[in-house]
Symmetry: D2
Amino acid sequence: MTQGKITVPLILVNFKCYLEATGAKAVQLASFARKATEKYGVTVAVAPQAADLRLVSQQTKVPVFAQHIDPISAGSHTGHVLAESVRDAGASGTLVNHSERRLEVSAIEEIISRAKGLGLATVVCANTSGISSAIASLGPDMIAVEPPELIGRGVAVSKAKPEVVTDTVGRIRNISREVVILCGAGITSGEDVKAALELGTQGVLVASGVVKAKDQAAAIEDLANACR
Amino acid sequence: MTQGKITVPLILVNFKCYLEATGAKAVQLASFARKATEKYGVTVAVAPQAADLRLVSQQTKVPVFAQHIDPISAGSHTGHVLAESVRDAGASGTLVNHSERRLEVSAIEEIISRAKGLGLATVVCANTSGISSAIASLGPDMIAVEPPELIGRGVAVSKAKPEVVTDTVGRIRNISREVVILCGAGITSGEDVKAALELGTQGVLVASGVVKAKDQAAAIEDLANACR
Amino acid sequence: MTQGKITVPLILVNFKCYLEATGAKAVQLASFARKATEKYGVTVAVAPQAADLRLVSQQTKVPVFAQHIDPISAGSHTGHVLAESVRDAGASGTLVNHSERRLEVSAIEEIISRAKGLGLATVVCANTSGISSAIASLGPDMIAVEPPELIGRGVAVSKAKPEVVTDTVGRIRNISREVVILCGAGITSGEDVKAALELGTQGVLVASGVVKAKDQAAAIEDLANACR
Amino acid sequence: MTQGKITVPLILVNFKCYLEATGAKAVQLASFARKATEKYGVTVAVAPQAADLRLVSQQTKVPVFAQHIDPISAGSHTGHVLAESVRDAGASGTLVNHSERRLEVSAIEEIISRAKGLGLATVVCANTSGISSAIASLGPDMIAVEPPELIGRGVAVSKAKPEVVTDTVGRIRNISREVVILCGAGITSGEDVKAALELGTQGVLVASGVVKAKDQAAAIEDLANACR
């Protein structure tokens, strides 16, 4: 199914700054993502570090997301990340406001606007139902919700009370029917992916559950298989 | 001449977030740098955006610097720049604390320490003589001094009073004999490079003077020729 | 009229870091605000610097707002502004996310939550209609809208096209019926206040128009008179 | 003894954002400081929150420090801390770059310069020997050194290896003979104060050891007594 320009369900793997997903290992992990897509017909996208964007997008056919872009236009911005640059390197979208890279609300709005102008899809992270509905008003393509009950507590979404996710989905849907909602916490297994989709999300944002897995390929396939 | 592991005089061209130095144009500009090195025997290095580091380092033989790295170790740092990643992408050094990307003093110290551990050369920017001598105490490989009288005022170092630069060089030398000193402002012509070297620096950090030049190749050659 | 616990229309004067509104001059300006309230029956509140909160609240009967509080609880937060401290000093509310003190969206949510728990009213600033409606989802007591067409351009709201304000008011009202809306830009005269109220706001946030006026008392009375 | 305008040895008590040192309790704690000064002849100064500066300086005769000021001049800086404002409120100095409020190196330099112009003494915090010597180049009145071996590990300076402090003191003295050095970590008892003074510092910066003590007055007197 395609919701707007994004095909859902979507599994987006955030490589963070893990050495297990840097350089040649980023390419390898992206190739596992590609194989899962071919095997199960579900979109698996990846978000490598900035310096690996071009390498991964050239050597695999996987949709590639930046982990962050700055709210700037081309010019004198040493050390920043320009939207045009990540697009030139092959990115088709970007994470925004990840919990490890929080932004001012005006920056989020400007990044969404710039990304839209360049055809980059935006996945804005939000860690409460209030913030999720606030973000929905800014018009991103996707929102990755990180219910505080699930973040960093080792609670799987499949084991949590349903309202932890459905409340947030409900508040977002009051603001926007179109925005794609990803479950951005509590995903470590295919069972969690199934639960997330049943609770009204259209996909998942995962990181260590895949990147730090002993068998990265098997971990991705487990998630992808659950989306069928 | 080689001062420590860095060959001086050094011309370092900062590509900032200029579209004239992004993607394929970053490679082209780096190739002009390479030609200037071959022609005049002076090291010309470049600092492209993060997403272009690997492209430039693979397609040219020019020493490549990152524009910024974060004071982090590998791990959960979405949207940050990991030293190991830029080194893997071919960088041999990094700018630190550029005026467009100022850092807390403890971050500067940690970045210098991390870079040293990975064999990355550090060029720390400093905008007054006081800050320049402060930075010297943190042990970087190079300091790019940006005398406030020269920054953003269109004053060329070759036209300024000598003490604008020599005072800063003197204060740095009271702290460190080894650190390489670059002149980081007031450079638009070969005449400026000559003046900077005569005032006790070992090279220059330039940006728009080269990147925004109508004839980028000619602009680089003019600077390189002045170092002979 | 009282909307929730806040009496509207409201004129809120932001003292910023102006010397014309520091220390004894802050008390004097607050006393002008008090006189305008007595004369015209409209609430005029003031937002002095943190170090002047107690002085102003003790020496005048004017409602006092902090200019900022941090999203922290009591403890080891050297150099930050604790909600309990400004309340103890007499504040009955606080500005949040002013354009000169932008905050991460999660910080805004936490500040609103903390302020509510302590009975402090929140005035969250927002500079576009998108951000205004986003902020409305976070449940503040008041939103000060700063239409970009009016900020820093010397355009008075009374001279601007009505939709510059009404669009934003409309988007906020889609999210919340209760939130008090202040016009936070384009106010320099009583005529502007009238226009702002007619366009659907319940008051104004002003700064230099009052603080920098040759006759501060007259400037405040002009605004208050327009609210009758 | 007076070193420059500052009388040493100095005990500086940082009130942080502790409720045990907010409002009326800030005044009480400052009065304990005053009594210790009268009893033992050693300067005990306090650093309350911004909103308590005037209250404490008016109701006690204790030297009062701000916990932070911003690198700004008077004007449009909503929510910031203006040097002129804290001086007007009775402060005779300010902490700078505390580990809970780190600053960019250029901000530290500007704050020192502004404070000097207004006659405010600066105590700049520094957490390694490298940073301590860097800060010394910026010309503050005092440096509070926080050896990483002592911070937050419950190690008392009196129990630590001497070189943890003497190395830092030595590096600072290579840069400046005049700067007053405070020991900013590892102080919980009079024995620690004695050790700190013997290792070449001229005083101490303390916080929880006094503020959180069951008997604040006794805790201060224990420290002051050790300075005689």
